[in-house]
Symmetry: D2
C-alpha cells in the first residue's frame, strides 16, 4: 500500500538522519573505523586480550592498599583502582581520604609497578590529583557533570567514564563526546549496571550495551561487575559474560577484609576469592582466546 | 504462630531503626516539626498559599526575558526562572549564555520587581553567580554532585534542589542533607518526574513523592510540571494535581515564542497559554483555598 | 536549513500516521467525541461528578463484607468491590473464596442496595460469575490476557480494566480495544500505578496517565489509590490529586479490621479511616465542583 | 555498639526466614540439590551441553515452517518453536493461525524429526493443543496468568515458562511454583529481557538472572536472545554471553524471509544468518566446553 511505502521512506530517512548525526560525533565508529587503543603502564586497553582493573572500593590505609597491590602485581596485572574522593548517598557516610588517599594509593601502586585508576568528583580536585592518578575515573553520578567532563577532556590522561545510574546508551555516548570534544580521545567506557525495578541485584547489568557501544564508538568498553551486581557470588559468571559478549576488560573490587570495609562491604572479594576469581577467568579466557 | 510474632518484632525493630536514622537528619520532620518557610522577594514559600516559579527554559536575549518578566509581574508573581548555564545531553547543543545570561536575567528581573531563580552546575560558577541569583537551582543531573551541594550549603541563599533523573526519595532527602549539613536550611525540594519505561510523557511525574517529602522533611516541596511531563497539554491538569496533593508551589516554563526556543521548544507555554494556565489555576486554587 | 525542513516534514507525517492509527481505534476520542457514560445501579460513571468504588481487597466472610457494605451504603455510595478469585504471587497465599465468595459478596451487596465489582481471572470463570457480578474487573496481571479480554468483550456487563504492572499507555488503550472490538463499549479504564525503581510506594502512581487517557479515548478513567501507593497515609492526598487531574472516579480498599486481612493488610483503611477519608474528599470535591 | 549487634541479629533472622521460605518451595535448590534434566526428543535440557530452540516467531504456512524445520534438522538440532496462538498488543495485528497453525507446525516438525515448542495462551486451548505440542510455552504476558499455570501444571508435558515483562526474579520463581505445585516438575525457565527505560534494545537482557535462577532453583534456564534484544545484530554476542554466564540453552527466531514476516520482522534471522550464528556459536562453545 501507499501508506506502507511512505512509512518505509520516513523510516529510512529518519535512520539516515540519525546516522548522519552519529557520524558527526568524534567518538563515533563512523568517524574513525579503527579501535582506539589506550596504553597505560604497558597495558593496551582495547587491543586483543581483555584487561583488568582491580582494587578496593575505597582507600582506607596504606596497609590495606599495599596488600591488594601486591596481590594484583603477583598476577602480572598492571592497574589498581581505589577511591579517595567517595561520592556517598549520605553526608554522614565515610567520604574518602581525599588527596591523602591518593598519595597512599600512588605510593602502594609505585612500589608494585602498578598504574592508578581513581575517581575525581569535581573540577577543583583535578589539578591536585593529576600527580597521583594515571587514569581519571568519572563515576556514574557524575556522567552528566558536564563541567567535570570538560575538565577531564582538557588534560592528557586517559579517562574511564562510567555509565550513569539511569543513563541511556545515547546519553552515555554524548557524555564521552564532551571529553573528546576538548581534545582528549583516551576514553574507556564502562558499563556498570542500570537502575531498574529488579532488586535481586544492586543494579541490572545491561550486557547488550557492550556490543552496542563497540559498534557505535571506537572506544574500549569495560564492565564493572561489582557495581552491576552488588553480589560477590555473581562476579565470576558476569565477568565471563562480559568477556564473551566482547568487552575489552573487567573491573572488580578486592579488599583484604571486606567485612570491615568502610564502604560496599557486601560486594568486594577478599584475597582468596580474588585468586579463585582470577584463576577461573583465566581458564575461561584461554579457551576463549583460541578461537576469537 | 511464634514465627509470626518474631516477624512482627523484627519489623517493628527495623522500622524503629529506620525512624531513628531519619530522626538524625537535619532536614527531617522528626528533627524539626514546623514547616520551614523560605522568604524570597516577599513570597513565603512553604506557607499557606502555593507559590509559583515561571520563566523560560534558557535565557536567550534581553528582549525574550524581559517580555516574560513583564507577563509574570503583571500577574503579581514575584519570581522568575531562566537557565544561563545549561546542562545539555550533547556538547553541540546550545550551552547557555553563562554569566552574561545571568546578568541579562537579573536586569530584566529587577526592572519588573522579580527575584531570580537560576541553575548553577559547578562549584566554580557559584561565586560569580551570587550577585545575580536570588535562589540557586541545582538541577536533576547534579542532585548527587556532592561538591556542588556542599558549595550551595555554604552560601546564604535559598537553594531549589531538583530530584535526580532516577533518584529514590531517600537519596533525594540525603542530597538535601548535604546542603543543610553545611549550615544552609533554606532548601526547596522539587519533584520533576522520574525516568521510567513509559514514553507518553518525557518523565513520569511521581505525584506521591510530594506528600512523602512533606511528611519526612520540614522543607517546602515544589512540582516542576514542565519537565515532569514534557507536554504543554498536561501542564494545567498536573499543576492542579500538584496543588491538590499538597505541593507548596509549581514551576513551569514560559517563552515568548516556544517554536524558536533554543531548548525544550515542545514543552514551554507561550504568553497566551501562560495567561490561560494561570487563570485556570487561580480559579482552581480559590475554590480549593476555601476549605484547605 | 534543508535538513530542518525535512525533519519537520517527517515529524508531521509520522504524527499524522499515528493519529490515523488512533482514529481507527473504536475506543479513540477521534472515533467518538462524546464521553462514554456507564450507568451502574444509578451511578453514572464518567458523567459530571466523580464516583467511587470501595470495598475489601478480598472477600473473607459474610460478616466482613456485610460490615463494609453497610458503611458504603451509609455514605450514599452505590458500588462495592471485593476479590473472590485472587491472583497471588505465591500459590501458597490465600487464593480467594472463588464462586462462594462471589455469592457472599452479592448477598451483602443486595441487602445494602449496592452493585458488585469483582475480578475475573480466566475465561472459564466468567459464565458462573455473571449472576453475581455487575462490573467485571480485569486486573493488572491480566491486562494482556487477550482471551479474557475477548471473553469480557462478548458479555453485556461493564468492564473495569486495570493498567498492567508495566504497561505503556498505548498498550493499555489497545487492551481496551480488544474488549470493544467484541461489541462491549462499557469499559472503565483504571490507572493503578506502574512498576518503577522507586520503593517508597508499592507502585508509582502515573497521574499524568489520567488526562492522556481522557484525551485519547472516550472512556471513563478511574484511579486505584490503594494499589498505586500501597500506603494508607497516601490514600487521601492521591485521591485529591486524582480528582484534580480529571479522573472520573477513585477506587480504594476498606476492611473492617485490616490487621487480620488475608491479603494487603498494610494498605486497607478501617471503617474509621474510611469515614475520615470520605469526609475529607467530599469537602475537597465540593469546593472543586463549584468551578469545574 | 549494641545497635550494631541488634542490627546483625535482625539481619540474620530475616535472612534465615527468607531462606526457610525458599526452602519450602518445590522448585527450590534447597528442596532438591540435583539439576532437573528434561528430556525432549532425545535432547537433555539442563544437562552438560547447552541446547537450542530455533524457529519462526509465528507459524505462517507449511512452506515457511518446513523450510526452517529442514535448516534446524540439518544442524542436528531437535526442537522447533513457532507461535500459533499469538498474543499481540493490538487486536488488529495478526493473531496467529491457532489450531491450524499447530497442525502445520507439528507436521513439518515430524517430517524432520523435531519436537514442537509452542505457546498456549489460555487454559481452554490446552487440551486441543496437546496432540501437537511437545513443550508448552507460557509467554511473558501470561507469566502471572495463574489459571494457565495451574492447567499447565496438571498435564504431563514439559513447560517453558518465560519471565514476565517486568517480573521480579522472585515472582518468576513463584510462577514456576504454581506449575510444580500441580505435580509437573518438567519446567524450563526462560529469561527474555525486562522492561526498562533503555530503548536501544527492545527489552533489557537481565543476564544476571541466569546464575541467580540456577542458584535458587534446580530448573534449567534458557535465554531468549531474540526478545531480549529485538536486534538481529545482537543475537550472537548475547547468545555467547548467555552460555558463558551458565545458561542451559538459547532460544532464537529464524524465518525464511524476515522482511515479509507477519510479526517481529526486524529481529528474526534469515537462513543464511542462522547458519553463521550457529557456526560461530558452535566454535565458541567448543572452546568453552573444553574447560567448563
Amino acid at each position: 500500500t501507499v501508506e506502507h511505502i511512505f512509512k518505509e521512506i520516513f523510516k529510512t530517512a529518519l535512520e539516515q538522519q540519525e546516522e548522519d548525526h552519529r557520524k558527526a560525533l568524534l567518538v563515533s565508529r563512523k568517524k574513525k573505523k579503527e579501535d582506539t587503543v589506550i596504553e597505560v603502564n604497558g597495558e593496551k586497553i582495547g587491543k586483543d586480550v581483555p584487561t583488568f582493573i582491580f582494587g578496593p572500593c575505597a582507600v582506607e590505609s596504606y596497609e590495606q592498599v599495599s596488600t591488594v597491590a601486591q596481590a594484583i602485581a603477583a598476577k602480572g596485572q598492571k592497574l589498581i583502582r581505589g577511591g579517595a574522593y567517595k561520592p556517598r548517598t549520605s553526608p554522614y557516610d565515610f567520604q574518602g581520604l581525599g588527596l591523602e588517599g591518593l598519595k597512599i594509593l600512588s605510593r602502594a601502586a609505585k612500589e608494585n609497578g602498578l598504574a592508578v585508576v581513581s575517581e575525581i568528583v569535581t573540577p577543583g580536585h583535578l589539578e591536585e590529583a593529576l600527580d597521583y592518578v594515571d587514569v581519571i575515573q568519572i563515576g556514574a553520578r557524575n556522567m552528566q557533570n558536564f563541567e567535570l567532563l570538560k575538565a577531564a577532556g582538557s588534560v592528557r590522561k586517559p579517562v574511564l567514564l562510567k555509565r550513569g545510574l539511569a543513563a541511556t546508551i545515547d546519553e552515555f555516548i554524548n557524555a564521552a563526546e564532551y571529553i573528546i570534544a576538548q581534545g582528549n580521545d583516551q576514553i574507556v567506557l564502562c558499563e556498570r549496571g542500570i537502575r531498574t525495578y529488579e532488586r535481586a541485584t544492586r543494579n541490572t547489568l545491561d550486557i547488550s550495551a557492550v556490543p552496542i557501544l563497540k559498534q557505535e564508538t571506537h572506544l574500549p568498553v569495560f564492565v564493572d561487575v561489582t557495581h552491576s551486581t552488588g553480589r560477590r557470588d555473581l562476579l565470576l559468571p558476569t565477568a565471563k559474560a562480559a568477556i564473551a559478549v566482547g568487552a575489552d576488560g573487567v573491573m572488580a573490587e578486592v579488599h583484604p577484609d571486606p567485612a570491615v570495609a568502610l564502604s560496599d562491604a557486601q560486594q568486594q572479594m577478599n584475597l582468596e576469592q580474588f585468586d579463585e576469581f582470577y584463576t577461573e577467568l583465566q581458564k575461561f579466557m584461554k579457551s576463549h582466546a583460541i578461537l576469537v
